[in-house]
Amino acid sequence: GAGVSQSPSNKVTEKGKDVELRCDPISGHTALYWYRQSLGQGLEFLIYFQGNSAPDKSGLPSDRFSAERTGGSVSTLTIQRTQQEDSAVYLCASSARDRGAGYTFGSGTRLTVV
């Protein structure tokens, strides 16, 4: 597609439930990133995928968070047993392999845990 697509746009879930967030990167972009942004804050790095290399998971806040990227394209971020502190906007971005390329962000998924 023309841009990075994220779904759902908004998600309200009950505490303790699992959620899955989806990201469709720009076709041909080999790098895919997940960030989290709490209200009024900066972006917190979560995880990074690059081609077939092992993902950089160093930003995942707990073992309740996991992500996968199938076929080098679509990615799913899964949060198990959601907690209220997980409420945030989850942003996905993709970029070309070239280190001089900027990121293209999706519009994000606003997750609210009640």
């Binding site: 790098a31 900066g42 972006l43 790095f45 990074y48 906007v89 280190r99 900027g102 519009s107």
Partner: protein
């Protein structure tokens, strides 16, 4: 942990004035990038400056980079109400990782 810190946290100016935002960072970098965010959703890439560059222009935007001071500035000239947004700097650290580390942002309000 945050690599970049923007200053000021918030800025309010009159339409037509110039807006200057600053960013400081801690470690050596490959490049530094500026992004804009409207309404707390997706960010838009504005400009990238490499570590061997000192100044870069794009339309009404001017970015400077001082690697000796580990700082960068973003100047928006002749501001417009539509420039109202949050602006973030992001650094690509000089290591094997390719992830950008974002600062906490500057909220710019341009009053018509």
């Amino acid at each position: 942990s945050q690599q970049g810190e923007e200053d000021p946290q918030a800025l309010s100016i009159q339409e037509g004035e110039n807006a200057t935002m600053n960013c400081s960072y801690k470690t050596s970098i490959n490049n530094l990038q500026w992004y804009r965010q409207n309404s707390g959703r997706g960010l838009v890439h504005l400009i990238l400056i490499r570590s061997n560059e000192r100044e870069k222009h794009s339309g009404r935007l001017r970015v400077t980079l001082d690697t000796s001071k580990k700082s960068s500035s973003l100047l928006i000239t002749a501001s417009r109400a539509a420039d109202t947004a949050s602006y973030f700097c992001a650094t690509d650290k000089l290591d094997s990782s390719y992830k950008l580390i974002f600062g906490s942002g500057t909220r710019l309000l341009v009053r018509p």
